[in-house]
Symmetry: C2
Subunit: 205 residues, 2 copies
DNA sequence: GTCTATAGCCGGATAGAC
DNA sequence: GTCTATCCGGCTATAGAC
């Protein structure tokens, strides 16, 4: 009976463990996004996730390990998003435009906290954090996806064009964030979309 | 004689004081740029400036006050730079292109630490720092200068175009920083310049 | 697996001698 | 004005009971 109780407790704890782990990552993900990595403490995360501080170290040895988990989580989310776009649009061009449109979906978040990939990369690069390459890989995932769509369209300048699209998008999100300007985000993203449209049509722009 | 000594000491101290103050600001400016504001401690600055920690509080009551001094210092440097451009080129278009060319001047710094205005704004916005508007004003200074050049050329879309130029430049510096990619900076900045050239010529681009 | 208590460190900031 | 010594608080991380 003692074993039974222990077992069911353990099983439940195992389930809870995975659940807890995910809760921690999700809470950290959000807080790292909102406040930045350095500015977020374990106390902040503990409070947000409803998990006691000391319990973190069962799941993550260090704060860096937690960051690693968060970045991988973001990559999964990103890939899921791109996969959704792949499935909901057959036309690569429609996919691309849907992505650019979608970047304005989380409008308020972007204005308040910037781009989840760009701001994280910037912070980690500046502080010389070992995880900066991993954050960079988030940008790389999206750049490669854009390039893939462009190549499917038949552009032989797909890599360069993808880089420019990413560059311009990042510029827009950075300035919208810096100025806290909602209209800037919407208007400049529209400009980017029109520019992409014109390029793909072979029109002057 | 005691008064005299005190006076000369005071005068010398005043001179030293101003010198020390400037040394502190210059050192902080550099470190805030290289490591970021939050990641830079007084100890770091003290070491770099050759001034004992405790002495800081004679010049700056808080770290925020020091940040304020650094931002104002950056604005002064920026205005000096723009004034130099004004004087070395009569043609507003030449001024503008000189600025865009000059952004690549500190190539290595930009690749390693990003744009001094953009990265600071991003960090302060994200952490919700009270000084974020002051950092934003740095971007505003440069945006207004660009708009002034465009207006002098006779563009009636000067404000919008200035914003777009700034947006694209920030995108380039962000990505070059995130990727640590020197070539990206040079190539994409060249693209921006060609685009500006084409727009000002009224050519398709 | 869970959680409490706390160690150990380093940050910004202060007091006060000189 | 200059500098030393130190406080206090929050941080990451650990030890160990349950």
């Amino acid at each position: 009976m003692a074993e039974q109780a222990a077992k069911s407790l353990s099983a439940e704890a195992g389930g809870r463990g995975a659940e807890n782990r995910e809760r921690i990552v999700a809470a950290a993900d959000r807080l790292f996004y909102e406040k930045g990595f350095q500015a977020t403490s374990f106390s902040d995360i503990a409070e947000a996730a409803g998990v006691p501080k000391g319990n973190f170290y069962y799941y993550f040895k260090t704060k860096d390990a937690l960051l690693e988990g968060v970045i991988d989580w973001r990559r999964q989310c990103l890939k899921k998003l791109l996969e959704t776009l792949n499935q909901s649009h057959d036309d690569p061009r429609a996919r691309l435009m849907a992505l650019l449109q979608g970047l304005c979906a989380g409008e308020d978040d972007i204005v308040r906290y910037g781009c989840p990939m760009g701001t994280l990369s910037a912070e980690l690069c500046k502080s010389g954090h070992e995880m900066k390459e991993r954050a960079q890989s988030l940008l790389e995932v999206i750049r490669e996806w854009i390039a893939a769509q462009l190549q499917a369209i038949g552009r032989d300048d797909a890599p360069e064009l993808a880089r420019e699209i990413l560059t311009r998008s990042q510029g827009v999100t950075l300035l919208a964030h810096a100025y806290g300007d909602h209209a800037l985000l919407v208007e400049e993203m529209a400009r980017v979309r029109h520019w992409v449209d014109a390029v793909l049509d072979g029109r002057p722009h």
